[in-house]
């Protein structure tokens, strides 16, 4: 059973979103996603200062198995990206909810967070995905 922290919000496309104290939103991929992908060998991050829409492509993660698009769970402006993944993409496997984060947004509409899945809802998605 994969790790699904209760305090995060989730997209059915296997990204997580965390509302930080300063009002920004950090985005990464779930433990279930990294496990399904296998060893991550390459991450393509969005450019700084671009605007992304909820549910649209904001990057690519490539594992030994395949390339997968990363969709932004909420709309907003990219204010930080995790450059360390360029050198150490395996961090995504080792610490998907911590140092394996992908990018940070200034959300344009915080209410979009409420439309995402909670841990229980995502657990169901992950469970169905495993079959």
């Amino acid at each position: 059973m994969s790790n699904i922290p209760a305090e995060l919000r989730y997209a059915s496309t296997h990204e997580w979103a965390r509302l930080e104290e300063d009002g920004t939103v950090t985005v990464g991929i779930t433990d279930h996603a990294q496990d399904a992908l296998g060893d991550v060998v390459f991450v393509e991050l969005p450019e700084l200062e671009i605007d992304v829409q909820a549910g649209t492509e904001a990057g690519v993660v490539e594992s030994v198995k395949a390339a997968s698009d990363i969709y932004s769970p909420v709309s907003g402006t990219v204010i930080a990206v995790n450059d360390a993944l360029e050198e150490s993409p395996e961090t995504v496997n080792e610490d998907p909810y911590g140092s394996g984060w992908f990018f940070r947004l200034r959300p344009s509409d915080k209410a979009e967070l409420d439309e995402l899945l909670d841990a229980e809802g995502y657990a169901e998605v992950a469970e169905n995905d495993a079959h």
Partner: protein
């Protein structure tokens, strides 16, 4: 119903991620494909390759038949205990399979791909001549032990055969009781492949694991063989191409000229006319991963496509094999990755030799 090798329970107990591989339930990895890859390059790893098809060929007509059946010439094997790599062709020179043929005392052994098993067996039966017996050996298991420390760490398991195995040259083999041990492999590293009775396989697997030999899955096997520049049947070659279009001209024995073999006339014709396409190695000159199916561009025009691609754990870059138009002699090409044209260097495989950039 998927088939299981005699080591299936070992894989499951080791926590392997199992996948359907051409009808066989096989380990993809045991946690980390990349770590398994490094284990083979830096120390020793082992693969369950019991799904491969072992076929014994005997009878007074066996040698002459194999000289007709295979593109390489088994007459090069002057004595028992030697093996060679060869393609098996159809009349048009198309590759039906690639295999290793071993010369034994009083007969021959072929190890062919599992994905082509049925077609191969049907082909052997169609081509078979009087005085030749073809016998599949499904009761045998096969374990490949590979890596710079493979022989040293296997010494206890090899026991009395250890010295003889250590003295073997590449493509040499010994038979030690019911164990058949060949200095062959699919990783570009030193090591051996052991063919043994299925009911002895689990004990062998455990003994080797206890000797600090890491279990490695099909995922690592694929990146290791690609770094070593070794073709994968069904991907880098199939019936639609000849060995000359697959970087395998070295494995076709045109000499002696009086030896006819299936596909010979077609290959001679192609050799004279020139091959339309060639198989080349590509190394990505930017960050990213090469994948099978990506288009190769020259001067903005498509000139071929990747037949295999991966991220090379040893080199830390994307590598691949591509079949491209023969007329293109540029050393710098481009590959279309999700709409972006990225530069690749063309090179002659292997990419990695003895653990380092070739």
């Amino acid at each position: 119903m998927t088939e299981r090798t005699p080591l299936h329970a070992e894989h499951v107990a080791d926590g392997a991620k199992m996948v359907d591989f051409h009808g066989w339930d096989m380990p993809l990895h045991y946690g980390s494909q990349v770590e398994e890859h490094h284990a083979v390059r830096r120390g020793a790893g082992m693969f369950d390759v019991s799904h491969m098809t072992v076929v014994d060929v005997t009878g007074e007509g066996a040698t002459a038949w194999l000289r007709w059946l295979l593109a390489n010439d088994v007459a090069k094997l002057k004595a028992p205990g030697r093996a060679l790599y060869t393609a098996m062709l159809d009349a048009e020179g198309g590759i039906l399979d690639d295999l290793i043929v071993y010369r034994r005392d009083g007969g021959w052994r072929l190890v062919v791909n599992s994905a082509t098993r049925q077609d191969d067996l049907a082909w052997l039966e169609t081509q078979r001549r009087k005085g030749v017996t073809v016998k599949e050996r499904p009761e045998l298991a096969m374990i490949a032990v590979q890596g710079p420390a493979a022989l040293e760490r296997s010494a206890a398991w090899l026991g009395s055969a250890a010295e003889a195995v250590a003295e073997l040259k590449p493509f040499g083999f010994v038979e030690d009781g019911d164990r058949f041990i060949a200095r062959t492999g699919y990783t570009g590293e030193d090591g051996f492949e052991a063919i043994l009775p299925g009911d002895c396989a689990a004990a062998a697997w455990r003994a080797l694991r206890d000797a600090d030999i890491a279990a490695a899955g099909l995922g690592a096997r694929d990146t290791l063989r690609l770094e070593a520049g070794l073709n994968l049947y069904g991907q880098d070659m199939d019936r639609s191409v000849t060995p000359l279009e697959s970087n395998l001209a070295w494995s076709v024995a045109f000499k002696p000229p009086e030896r006819d073999f299936i596909g010979r006339a077609a290959l001679e014709r192609q050799r004279e006319e020139g091959v339309p396409r060639v198989l080349v190695g590509l190394k990505l000159q930017a960050r990213g991963v090469l994948r099978r199916g990506q288009r190769v561009l020259y001067d903005g025009q498509p000139v071929g496509e990747l037949t295999s691609g991966a991220f090379s754990p040893t080199l830390g870059v994307g590598i691949g094999l591509a079949r491209i138009d023969a007329g293109i002699d540029a050393s710098e090409l481009e590959v279309d990755i999700r709409g972006k044209s990225l530069p690749v260097a063309r090179l002659k495989p292997p990419f990695v030799k003895r653990g380092e950039a070739a």
